[in-house]
């Protein structure tokens, strides 16, 4: 049999000039380096006092000197974040599945979902402290509140994004509703689910620190609050930077999981198409 020119085996995608992660990491690294350097120069030359504008070197020193405080603070904040994220994730997927299953539930829940996102965290946080004390629980609730919505909405959208023709094909083969769900709708929803998760994790650490700021007995938020009250601006910067790094770390973690879980979505070929069209 002699078919049309077959494409080369999928494994042999043309190699790139440089590894991709270097090409990806180089521009932001360059920009960050430039910003830090300028910041250092401005802080030194302007003569502003350190409690208004500490230099990067001073921030670094402040972090190092308070490392005994920072370690447990990071641990507390990460624990709240992790517990909150897991609960938010389970809740979001369960609610998305329920809304997908019943149009009645969808109509009932959707407005409440939206409302949960518009709730003023700064207003509700003190209330949660009053109700649930200074421990883990109120912070976890805040993390759940900020993370739940993006995941629930994107998962719901993802479940309805499956190609109707694919569903019709399965039905033509005599597939049951459960089979259609498992074989088509669930896998089709995964890319949106993950983009919701990526958004959620970037909010999560900030959510936890807000809870600690408003009423915490530990954590990065409390460290930040005490530093601010002591006019230790350099330490405030330390806490800010660590919060940011933790958020970025979570984001990267989710991205890596996503890449491993959805190889078909991130096939080398698609990445190349994006690059060609300039989207990537």
């Amino acid at each position: 049999m002699n078919f049309e020119a077959t494409p080369t085996a999928p494994a042999s995608i043309s190699p790139h000039r440089r590894p991709r992660w270097i090409r990806e990491a180089f521009p932001p690294a360059l920009l960050i380096g430039f910003v830090v350097l300028s910041w250092q120069v401005v802080a030194e030359r302007s003569g502003l006092p350190a409690f208004i504008l500490p230099s990067p070197a001073q921030v670094w020193r402040a972090g190092w000197e308070t490392r005994d405080l920072l370690g447990p603070a990071i641990g507390t904040t990460m624990l709240e974040t992790a517990v909150g994220l897991v609960i938010a994730l389970l809740l979001a997927v369960a609610i998305a599945a329920m809304m997908d299953f019943s149009p009645f539930l969808r109509r009932a829940l959707y407005p409440i979902l939206v409302a949960s996102q518009t709730v003023q965290i700064l207003a509700i946080a003190p209330l949660l402290i009053i109700w649930f004390g200074f421990g883990l629980l109120p912070k976890v609730i805040i993390v759940v509140l900020v993370c739940f919505f993006p995941m629930a909405v994107s998962t719901t959208d993802g479940l309805t994004s499956a190609d109707p023709d694919l569903i019709a094909l399965l039905r033509s083969m005599g597939a049951t509703r459960a089979q259609v769900w498992r074989i088509v709708r669930l896998p089709a929803a995964l890319p949106s689910f993950f983009s919701g998760l990526r958004v959620a994790v970037t909010y999560s650490v900030v959510g936890a620190t807000i809870g600690e700021w408003v009423g915490g007995s530990a954590g990065l938020g409390l460290y930040m609050l005490r530093s601010k009250n002591a006019l230790a601006t350099d330490q405030v910067f330390v806490a800010m930077l660590i919060t940011t790094l933790l958020s970025i770390g979570l984001f990267v973690l989710v991205y890596l999981i996503e890449r491993a879980a959805l190889p078909w979505y991130y096939s080398a070929q698609r990445a190349e198409q994006w690059e060609e069209t300039g989207i990537y």
């Binding site: 078919f3 049309e4 085996a9 999928p10 033509s172 083969m173 005599g174 074989i183 070929q269």
Partner: protein, 254 residues
């Protein structure tokens, strides 16, 4: 006399679209005998895909009756093998996992399903691509994968909706001959939709011509060409004569 494998009696179907009524099919009657290769040709929008959706059981006719092996089933889905116009491979599944889909739905154990599929891969020119995702395949390969999936439904009747419609002329001819080869091996009943007169004649035992919307059967032609079909047939005067009959039925002057 044996019963037709598939029979449509006075089938009509309309769609309601924003208060507008679109008549897709009007009083269509036709039958297909066991082992027959019937091609259906008609202009775009003449209700060809609708016809298949009705036979498969995804739609119900407004009037008329559809019989499979002499029986009018209440729920017909899962009784014939259907290959839609688009290949509709699951993008998140490898070729192998795509083609075993009908076996999986029937509860065939995975190892057994893989074994059956692997046996067929060479015939479908997919050997070495079982682990590839559909995005890595050429158009012709995707069509062959979709066809293998259809064959693995192991139904007596295959409904193929313009399977080669989106392919370039060369690939299309290769696949036509290849399909005839596969068919001569399995001898299933095939109903093949096309909008290409040459394809309809070259492949079919019988050609059914549908009119423009609403689709009605305007002509049935029993093809007078020997099997196995060979490319050279296309140049014969009989071929041209029958082509002219079909074109005329389609309202295209020659």
């Amino acid at each position: 006399m044996t019963a037709p494998r598939l029979e449509l009696r006075h089938v009509s179907k309309s769609f309601h679209d924003n208060g507008l009524v679109v008549k897709a099919l009007e009083d269509v009657s036709l039958h297909v005998m066991p082992g027959e290769f019937v091609t259906i040709i008609g202009p775009s929008g003449s209700g060809k895909s609708t016809l298949f959706n009705l036979i498969v059981g995804l739609l119900e006719p407004d009037a008329g009756e559809i019989r499979l092996d002499g029986r009018a089933y209440r729920n017909r889905t899962g009784r014939v093998a259907y290959m839609p116009q688009r290949d509709l491979l699951l993008p998140w599944r490898s070729v192998l996992d795509n083609v075993i889909l009908p076996l999986e739905l029937r509860g065939v154990p995975r190892s057994e399903a893989y074994r059956q599929a692997r046996e067929m891969l060479p015939l479908f020119g997919l050997e070495g691509f079982e682990e590839a995702y559909p995005t890595a395949l050429s158009g012709g390969m995707r069509q062959r994968a979709a066809l293998l999936r259809t064959i693995l439904t192991e139904r007596e009747t295959l409904l193929l909706d313009e399977p080669f419609g989106a392919l370039d002329a060369l690939t299309r001819r290769e696949l036509q001959d290849w399909l005839l080869g596969v068919w001569s091996r399995f001898r299933q009943t095939v109903v093949f939709i096309t909008h290409d007169v040459e394809e309809a004649l070259y492949l079919g035992d019988r050609v059914i011509v549908l009119s423009a919307r609403p689709g009605r059967v305007v002509r049935t032609l029993t093809v007078d060409l020997p099997r196995p079909r060979r490319r050279g047939l296309i140049t014969l005067p009989e071929f041209g004569r029958q082509e002219a009959i079909l074109l005329e039925a389609l309202g295209i002057s020659v």
